[in-house]
């Protein structure tokens, strides 16, 4: 059982470990933090299939792990405040799918 778990991981970080990236130094995803503070649902924190967004209680802002972005665009559409400034990473950066 433990062997299977390791080969087909359930944990999202382990899944993302199988994806090849060429990460940029700067984020291509810019949530408008003022809107995020008043956003009740914080849809980005659960809709993203790469778990890019996490809400940080201490700093009262959304943290963006853009390096793991799969470039799907779900966060942009699902953002209830419609205030996520979204673009693809710059030329040559971002995800490189090999098996999909």
């Amino acid at each position: 059982m433990s062997k299977n778990k390791k080969l087909i991981p359930e944990n999202i970080d382990d899944k993302l470990y199988t994806v090849k990236y060429n990460p940029d130094e700067k984020t291509h995803l810019h949530p408008k933090q003022d809107d995020c503070v008043t956003c009740i649902k914080k849809t980005c924190t659960f809709i993203c299939p790469a778990n890019v967004y996490t809400w940080d209680i201490e700093s009262n802002r959304v943290l963006v792990g853009y390096e793991n972005c799969l470039e799907c665009g779900a966060c942009r559409i699902a953002c209830e405040k419609q205030s996520l400034s979204w673009s693809y990473p710059k030329s040559g950066y971002g995800v490189i799918f090999k098996q999909s």
């Binding site: 299977n4 080969l7 087909i8 991981p9 359930e10 999202i12 899944k15 993302l16 199988t18 994806v19 060429n22 649902k41 849809t43 659960f46 809709i47 299939p49 790469a50 778990n51 799969l70 470039e71 799907c72 665009g73 779900a74 942009r76 559409i77 699902a78 673009s87 693809y88 710059k90 030329s91 040559g92 971002g94 995800v95 490189i96 799918f97 090999k98 098996q99 999909s100």
Partner: protein, 434 residues
Amino acid sequence: MEREYVDVVIVGAGPAGIAAAITLARAGKEVVVIERGSFPGSKNVFGGAIYSKPTEEIFPEFWKTAPVERFNIEHKFAFLGENYGTVLGYKNEEHAEKFNSFTVIRSKWDRWCAQQAEQAGAYIVNETMVTDLIEEDGQIVGIKTELEDFYARLIIIADGVNSILARKAGLRNDFESKDIALGVKEVIKLPKETIEDRFNLEGNSGSIYTILGNPMNNMVGLGFIYTNLDSVVIGIGVSLDDLSDSEKKTYDLLNELKKHPTIRSLIKGGELLEYSAHLIPEGGYKCIPKLYGNGVMVVGDAAMLVNNVHWEGTNLAMQSGKLAAETAIAALKKNDFSENTLSLYKKKIDESFMMKDLKTYRNVMSFIKNNKKIITDFYPAKASEFLNQFITIDGIPKRKKYFSFISSILKERKLSIIKDILAFTNIGRSILLK
């Protein structure tokens, strides 16, 4: 400095862009394809299968050299309850010879398609992001990239589901979350022989599963399995609206699906090769944007051309690319790139089977959304329950079983059963009649 115009610039080297490029290059037109990924296919994700016939129209005898994984000879439909499932399948060996559909790995397939376009004379520029369109006097005349501007007599927008450019060209509004699904998939490595044993296959034949019900009950969503030569693809596509409402994570739903007793043995012992995600346009007929403007046409996912009832995306992409290219050839001949001339593209699309089909199914998604509970949960569960009772011998007289089965439906649905019948009749009518 005098500007240099090429005949056509295509943004995006996916199936739509490449089909347009190869059609133009074969007609001797000067065509440049601009791709943001480091190679064609590197940013692309799909469920798993491409239909052969439309592919052949673009790439005759493609199977002789293309990187095809398996030709599908079987399609199974699995209706899953919590710990049970009903599976229906259709298998036909003729599909191995007549090639109905086949599986591919996009990084290999898209690259091969792009190579064919290059051999026909198209130029492909990789690793270049188009940031904007250049408009002059109401006419789109070029594109901006991070480094330089390109001018063209015509621009074909093939930049995929999120199509920033179709929105910038004013052809399309952004979609609403009800018209879009989020797909996630995992490619799981297994030995070729194991796949053939588990899926009951021989040689390079393949099998498809379409999965309804658990763990996506009460959500508009589907699961899918495809077989590659030495990997199995498993994934789900779920309406963004339902994900948002349920606050469930796609990868958790996929984890659950992989544990289902009907599914888990198919992938047991495998190794995850790659996890990926992509959006799927699901709005259908009612969401097709304006397909052309002065100097510009939009194709494929960017034009939201997906028939989700039959898992058609890549073929509609290729066919729309081809029709846009044919329109471009006519426009180049006339040397007229106005909206008026390019309306020929819309005419071609309307006359093609793809728009006819999308129109046929125009009400299907709203039907499913309005009857989510009964379609994804109640009636599939009842069908399984019926089969369970039919195969179980437990001392209860059969007639009593039938009556208690029927009364359980009546008891749960009550007068709603009339509503259900009406809903099914209406959708049947809208598919078959006007």
